[in-house]
Every structure is written in C-alpha cells, then in structure tokens.
C-alpha cells in the first residue's frame, strides 16, 4: 500500500546484561519496545506504556528506570540490566529473586520482573530499612494480584541477606 522505506531508522548500539546489541530502529522506539519486539527480551513487561505501573522497570547504570519512558537511543553507551541479566552466569538466583519465590511474592507474575528490579535497587539505595520504608519505596510498582505483603517480606529477607 505504501513505500515502507519512508520511516527513518538509525543504528543503535546497546549494552544489555553485559552483551552488545546492534539494531536499526526509528528514533521514536522506546527502550521497552526495543527489548520486547526487537531483541526477544520479553522479561521486561509492558503494563501501561505511560510510566504509571512500574512493570517495565530496568536498571540503567545501576539505577531504576522506566523503559517505557526511555527512548532506546537515549541509553547508548550505558549499562542496561534487565530481569534476564539478574541471575549469575551459572544461573544462581539473585537474593531478591530467591526471596520472591520463597515468600510467594507474586501470583500472575506479570509485574514481577519490575518488582524485582525495583527491589534490587531499593535495597542498594538503602531504602529497605523498615517495612514502612520498603512499602514507600516499592509503591511505584503496581501489583493487581495484591502480593504486596509478601513482596515486603521478600524485600526484607533479601535486604538482610545482602547485608550479611
């Protein structure tokens, strides 16, 4: 129906979970859609596409970032970590992942990668000092299944493990 070459694409180089990726995408492609639609890294979830739910939380240079509000082109040359890159190279789970499983901190699992990425950062930021502090600093990640009490328990447990 149309000339499909009229969309302008640009080459982008991304470092994700320690691996380099090159892709040609339109400048308007978000990091979230680049991960999910172009790189088959579907662990990062799209819940709202408006920065309201936290399901797309990833780390950029170690800090939590909403991938739906970040253009792929913005994060060239930065270290991106997604849920797929959290476990060790030998498959050993991160303390937060293990605590989520043990505390049953999820049901449907759709918000879970974002919760876990937020929780890792929350502990690293030093904001897991009390249950109330965890609730506040995890409040940007919605969970409609209502796993919140178990998420708090998991973050508390992981924070203690990380500290020890």
């Amino acid at each position: 129906m149309t000339d499909q070459t009229t969309s302008i694409t640009i080459p982008i180089h991304l470092t994700i979970n320690g691996r380099d990726h090159s892709l040609n995408v339109e400048p308007r492609v978000t990091l979230l859609d680049a991960l999910r639609d172009r790189l088959d890294l579907t662990g990062t979830k799209k819940g709202c596409d408006h920065g309201q739910c936290g399901a797309c939380t990833v780390h950029v240079d170690g800090e939590r970032v909403l991938a739906c509000l970040t253009l792929a082109a913005q994060v060239e040359g930065r270290e991106i970590t997604t849920i797929e890159g959290l476990a060790g190279a030998d498959g050993t789970l991160d303390a937060v992942q293990a605590a989520f499983l043990e505390q049953d901190a999820f049901q449907c699992g759709y918000c879970t990668p974002g919760q876990i990425m937020s929780a890792v950062a929350c502990i690293r930021e030093g904001h897991a000092g009390s249950d109330d502090e965890i609730r506040e600093y995890m409040a940007g990640n919605l969970c409609r299944c209502g796993a919140y009490p178990n998420i708090v328990a998991a973050v508390r447990q992981a924070a203690l493990e990380v500290a020890s």
Binding site: M1, Q4, K46, G47, L86, F100, Y110
Partner: protein
C-alpha cells in the same frame, strides 16, 4: 504449551526452606512450580511469542458515547509509512455471528467488531495494521472520523436513565416481607451504592493471530481456552479443531479474560486478510472500554427486627447498569438471601441501560456488591439495637440455607468469627463510635462476613508415567496466578506416588484435554478432581502391569497390590523387590503408561462434552441435591481516619476463611490476601469517573484510576478455618479466588463508622465524604 521441569530449573538458592517432602503432597506448602520462570523473565506470556513476518495492529476508538459514524477518512493513514491495511466497518472481511457463552445461537448472521452505530465512548470503529508498532500507532492517529452525535445516557444517575427493566428471574420471595417489616419493632432502611470498577490486570488484553490455510492459531491471555476457541471457530466458519488457542501464562484476569472480544476478531480478521501473523495489544486506556468492568450498582436494604436484633424481615431492591446493546445482570441479592436467618424475605432487581461497554465479571460478581449492602445494613441494625456487631451476626446465624432450605455442606463461619475475633482482639473494642483514638487519628474497628458459592463443572486431563520415572500432566486449563501448575503437580505426585519435583504440568494449550472456564473459583476443584481420576487410572495400569507382566520382578510374588511411593515400587509388606518406576517400566518394555481422566457423567456424548467445555451451560448448581455449598469468611479490619483531613488508612486486617481443604495453603493464602487488597481498593480508591458532557471515562489509566499501591496496604493476617468438604469437590476444597474480596468493603465502611460516627454508604469512601 509450557513446561516447568522443576528438576532442571535453578532453584538452588530458593529451595533453602525446602526439604520437607510433605510440601509436594496435596495440602503442602510447595512453592510455585512456575515461579523460577516468572522470577527470571523466562516465562513467555501469550503475545510475547516472536514470529517471523509479524505485523502490528492498533485500534481506533469512538470519541462520542452515542450516535453514528458519518464517515471515516483513511487516506492519510493509508499512505503513512509502513501501513499495510486500514480496516473500517466497510473494509473488514465478513465475520459470522457466534453463539454466546451459554451456547445460545447468534441473533445476527454477521458480526461487526467495528461499529457504525456507536453506543459508548471507546467503542472500536477502525484499525490500522503496519509493519511496526510505532508505525501503526502513528497512522492510527491520522484516521479522521466524523459523527452524527445523539444524546447519551451517561450513567445510572442520568435523568434520562429511568428505572430500567425488571429482571424477573432475580426475584426471590418467602414469607410476607413487607407486612413483617411494617410490624417489626425495629426498622432500618438505607441505600448502598458501588461504582464502576475495573479489573485492571497488569497484563493488558491482546493477542497474536496467525492463519496457516484454514487453521488459526491464537496466542492470547485466556481464562477459557476452549470457550474462546469456539468463538473464533464460529466467527470464521472453521471447525473447532482448526483453532488452537495458546495461553501459557496469564498476567491477571480477575474475570476479564474469559471471552474473545471485538479487538480479538479484528486481529484474526486482519491476519487472514493480510496473510501474515498480526499482533494487537490494547493500550491501557483501551483496556477500560474494550470490555466491561464491574457494573455500578444501587441497593436498598430494609431490615425489620425485634429489639433483641433478631431479623424478622429483609426487603431488598437492587439496580445495576448495563449497556444499550448488551445485557449484564450483577446478582445483587446473592448474599442478602443466604447470610442471615429470616422468616420473611423479598428481593427484586432491575437493570438500567446506559451508554457503556457491556459490564462484565470482576472478582465475585454479584456477591461482592451484595455483601456491601447486607453487611453494612446489619451493622446499622447492631447500633440501632445496641448489640455488638459481631454478636448480632451470631444472633442471626443461618443454621441452614434460608433460601434453598437445605443443609450447608460445610459452614465454618462461626469458627471464622471466633478465630478472627480472637486474633484481632475484638473483645477489647470500645463499642461507641469516636471512642478510640491515637492523637489526631480516630480509630475504628469493623467486622463483616463474606461468602461465595461453590461452582462446579467437569474437567479432563491426561496423566502419563514416563520411561524416566517422571509424571506428565496435560490439560487445557490455565494458571493466571491461582497456582494451577503447582496444585496439579501436587495432586499427580501424591496420587501416583512420586516427588512433586518429578511431575511436569503442561497447561494453556487448547490441544490438550479440555477444561471449562477458569472463573467462579471453580477451576481448582474441577481440575484436581480430573487429575486425581487420571492419575489413579494411570497408577492402576502401572501396578497391574507390575503384578501381571511375566517380565516384572514382582510377577512371582502373586501380590494383589503394590505400593508406589516416592518414585519407587515395593510389595505391601516390604518382602520383595524395591525398584524405581523407571526400572520397572524398562523391565516390562514399556516407555510410558497413559490415562485420560474426566469427571463427566459416564454416559456423556461427544456433544455433551463439547457443550460442557465450550459453554457454561452445564455448570452444576451449588444447591444441587441435599446440600447448599459455599465458602465463607469473616473480616476484622482496623482503620485510622485523620480527624482534620478525613483521610482513611487501613492499618490492620485479620481475616478467617473457610475454603474447605486447601490444596496448597501457601498459594491459597496469597490469593486470599490479594482479594482483601482488591477489596481495600474498592472501599477507598476505585471509581470509574464519567465526564458527564461526553459520557467518557476520564480516569482510564493506572495513574488516575487508583488501584492500591504497596504503601496503601498494611500487614494482613489470614487464618484458614476450613475443613474438607467432599460434597463440594473430589478432594474436599471449596472456592478460594473470589471469596476473600467479599465483605472487605463493608468491614471497612463499618470500621469508618466506628471511627467517625459517619455512615458512608456510597463507595469509595473518599475524604470529601467524611469532612
């Protein structure tokens, strides 16, 4: 199809609390077997499949609430970069009408998922398909629509809405309720409202559709593979067997993901028209109008009672909104008619048509708003007669089903009140409103009960004992977080006699043995029954072979039976060989034992089976036979209300629940807490707000439609008081998923009254209603 081979999953770290073999049995606290995939990002949800040649579709929705589409100008969209197809009511292929979920034949020969006549804002009227998602989004914004707008009825309180249509089948009457009310020494009467609420599952609705000749594969989050496959088959005039629905994980449903919807038809049609697979995911705002949330409801509850608080009469009138061109009845008397003993009862219900998408099922449809009415009303009665709110519930305890006049199968509600009150410290409650405080915070303690019927149906499963000694289970049922993968692994493990780690459960593919809808809290009871039956049959075959095959090491024993436990087979007295399942299968030259089990009546025809799995017409009534079957719960909730600002915070929840036997308490407790949290949202936050000028939901996103966040939720304690109920299911469980939300909102409203002395009968309880 999804495999969780937990033997190979890396759970080293996570297994730190394991090692208790009983975890894997039915009733054990086994961690989710699909957990490792979900916490590592490996779990691929339905529309995350990566397919070659995938095109992307975006819907265009109506911006008026009533009227007709005069013209759709697609020229700019059609020439936009990457656009493959622009669909309007005039250009979409013909789609046939499909039967409804009860199996009633279609009323129209054809079905148009794109509307010419608009009956609600947000209705789909066009779609754009392009090479990339970004191109489709950009082109969809170029579609120009002009309308001839007509006045809309925006909601129940619209002056044009009227009294609605009486739904006679909802009428329930016994005794002479009006006369008994008029004669009662104590009379209370009040109106209770609940608003439009949305399921707001974190995973949006969407799908990938692919045609290969006349075969259609749909990857779509689904609470009901076989029912949705039937709809697609009828829409496109292909045999049911030609449609494969795949839904390995579902990112939350809460009632919303059981039906194929208009956008589903558009995706499948565009895939057929293009000859390419098409992916269509609704935007978050579209998720508020592409399917219905809970209907707004209005109830009047009048109670006539003695001065001792004993109920003599209940008169109940209810109204729920429905759509201009679709019918939804939210049964508003479902709790009213059974919770308390009353010699006289009357309930009637109307529905009112407004310009909205057809409302739909949201967690405990009917029971949830019904309980808000009666459980607030009895609290009002308690204050009226000066009786403790817990005591008045015990005083009116229904020893049998007041409506069906049948014995309860099990009703641990008295036990729930006792356990919850004890744990909560109810006896320390100061009865007077505004009598408990902590500085500026008024403290209120409220109680309310909840219930949900045990809905039963039939299910089918295959159980295989494989050459390596592992066990495989297949079923087209689904896991949206309830824990189906896990409890079916536990059921097969216990029944066959292997560790749960040696069971692989495959769900979410309509090619597997069939299952009905995962709704109405019925799936666990149905499917544990089917897996139990199939596993028993596989085990019988296996033991029979071990006894009778001349090559078996047990052949010479001439035993009547053998013991299979922990993956090994032995003689009952331990006086013979001790071999593994794998060794035994090898010795008799078999690579597998396979059995199909279903819980259908023995003489069921193929047609009966098809109807059972693809409609809800064969659901077994909860009052069938001699018993009335329900789950029960009691919520004890503390709120803190800021005296100056009127802000309400829930600070403590203790709930005691009777779901019968729990197949896995760890997972059941999580579902209960989730229901309570959704109930807190309903009580304090959730409300679809209508722009009265345009009949449009204005807070159609997750920042403005407020669902509870982590910071809104305190510690929640849940206590199981259930006992096995074999009238309800094969293994003794009742329902879990919907029960716990029922009664939460009235417990909070009752606590707010206790804190403030203000009775808020209109949800959500927001600060302006308190100051």
């Amino acid at each position: 199809m999804t495999v969780h081979n937990i033997r190979h999953a890396n759970t080293r770290h996570a297994d730190s609390r394991h090692g208790d073999a009983s975890d894997g049995a039915v009733g054990g606290r086994l961690s989710r077997v699909d957990g490792p995939a979900k916490i590592t990002g490996a779990a691929k949800y339905a529309f995350e499949q990566q397919l070659d040649g995938l095109a992307h579709a975006v819907m265009v929705e109506a911006t008026i609430a009533a009227g007709t589409v005069r013209a759709i100008d697609t020229r700019a969209a059609e020439t936009a970069p990457g656009v493959l197809l622009v669909l309007t009511p005039d250009t979409i292929m013909e789609i046939k009408g499909a039967s409804d979920w009860l199996g009633n034949p279609p009323t129209q020969k054809t079905y148009s998922p794109l509307a010419r006549t608009v009956t609600y804002s947000g209705q789909h009227i066009a779609a754009v398909v392009a090479e990339t998602f970004e191109q489709a989004v950009a082109a969809a914004a170029l579609v120009e629509v002009s309308y001839d707008e007509t006045p809309a009825i925006v909601d129940l309180s619209d002056a044009k809405a009227g009294d609605g249509i009486p739904i006679d089948v909802m009428t329930k009457e016994w005794g002479d309720a009006e006369a008994a009310f008029a004669a009662a020494p104590v009379r209370i009467c009040a109106a209770y409202n609940t608003q439009r609420e949305y399921q707001a599952a974190m995973e949006p609705h969407g799908l990938i559709a692919r045609w290969q000749g006349e075969e259609l594969t749909i990857w779509e989050p689904s609470q009901w593979l076989d029912g949705m496959a039937r709809t697609y088959a009828e829409w496109f005039g292909v045999p049911f067997e030609n449609v494969r629905l795949v839904s390995p994980y579902i990112g939350g449903g809460f009632g919303s993901k059981a039906l194929a919807l208009a956008h589903s038809a558009v995706a499948a049609a565009s895939a057929k028209m293009l000859g390419r697979p098409v992916k269509l995911v609704l935007t978050r705002p579209q998720n508020f109008t592409s399917y219905g949330g809970r209907a707004a409801t209005r109830q009047t509850v009048t109670i006539g009672a003695g001065r001792d608080g004993k109920i003599q009469s209940i008169v109940h009138r209810g109204v729920n909104e429905t759509a201009v061109d679709g019918m939804w009845v939210e049964p508003l008397a479902s709790v009213t008619s059974i919770m308390y003993a009353t010699p006289n009862f009357s309930s009637k219900q109307n529905v009112v048509r407004v310009n909205t998408v057809v409302p739909g099922a949201k967690r405990a449809p009917g029971e949830n708003p019904s309980a808000f009415g009666i459980e607030c009303a009895i609290d009002e009665l308690a204050y009226e007669v000066g009786v403790d709110p817990l005591e008045i519930r015990l005083r009116n305890y229904a020893e049998q089903d007041p409506e069906a006049k049948k014995a309860w199968s099990t009703r641990q509600l008295r036990e729930a009140f006792a356990a919850g009150a004890e744990r909560f410290g109810w006896s320390k409650r100061s009865p007077k409103p505004r009598s408990m405080r902590d500085g500026h915070q008024l403290i209120g303690w409220g109680v309310a009960a909840g219930t949900y019927p045990v809905r039963r149906a039939y299910g089918e499963a295959i159980v295989r004992i494989l050459a390596d000694g592992s066990v495989e289970v297949e079923s087209s049922s689904i896991d949206m977080g309830q824990g189906t993968y896990t409890i079916l692994a536990q059921t097969a493990a216990e029944t066959v006699g292997v560790p749960a780690d040696d069971v692989v459960v495959k769900l979410g593919d309509s090619r597997f043995p069939r299952a009905g809808v995962a709704g109405g809290s019925r799936l666990a009871g149905v499917m544990t029954g089917a897996v139990y039956k199939a596993a028993t049959s596989a085990l019988d075959q296996f033991v029979g072979l071990a006894i009778s095959d001349p090559r078996s090491p047990f052949h010479a024993l001439q035993a009547n039976t053998l013991v299979v436990a922990n993956g090994r087979i032995t003689a009952p007295r331990g006086d013979g060989p001790d071999v593994s399942i794998a060794e035994l299968l090898a010795s008799v030259g078999r690579d597998r034992i396979e059995a199909t089990g279903d819980t259908m009546p023995a003489n069921s025809s193929a047609e009966d089976r098809y109807k059972n799995y693809t409609t809800i017409a064969t659901s077994v009534p909860h009052t069938e036979g001699d018993y009335s079957r329900h789950s029960w719960c009691a919520h004890f909730i503390e709120v803190r209300v800021d005296e100056d600002f009127g802000t309400v915070r829930v600070s403590r929840v203790v709930s005691a629940l009777d779901s019968g036997r729990l197949y896995n308490p760890k997972l059941a407790e999580s579902q209960w807490k989730g229901g309570i949290i959704m109930g807190i949202g309903q009580a304090l936050l959730e409300e679809g707000i209508v722009d009265r000028r345009h009949g449009r939901i204005v807070n159609n996103n997750l920042a403005d439609y407020l669902v509870p966040t982590n910071a809104d939720i305190p510690d929640i304690e849940v206590i199981s008081v259930g006992i096995p109920d074999l009238h309800s299911s094969v293994l003794g469980g009742k329902g879990v998923g919907e029960l716990a939300i029922v009664g939460v909102a009235p417990a909070i409203a009752n606590a707010v009254f206790h804190a403030t002395g203000k009775r808020v009968r209109d949800l959500p309880i927001t600060l302006e209603k308190l100051i």
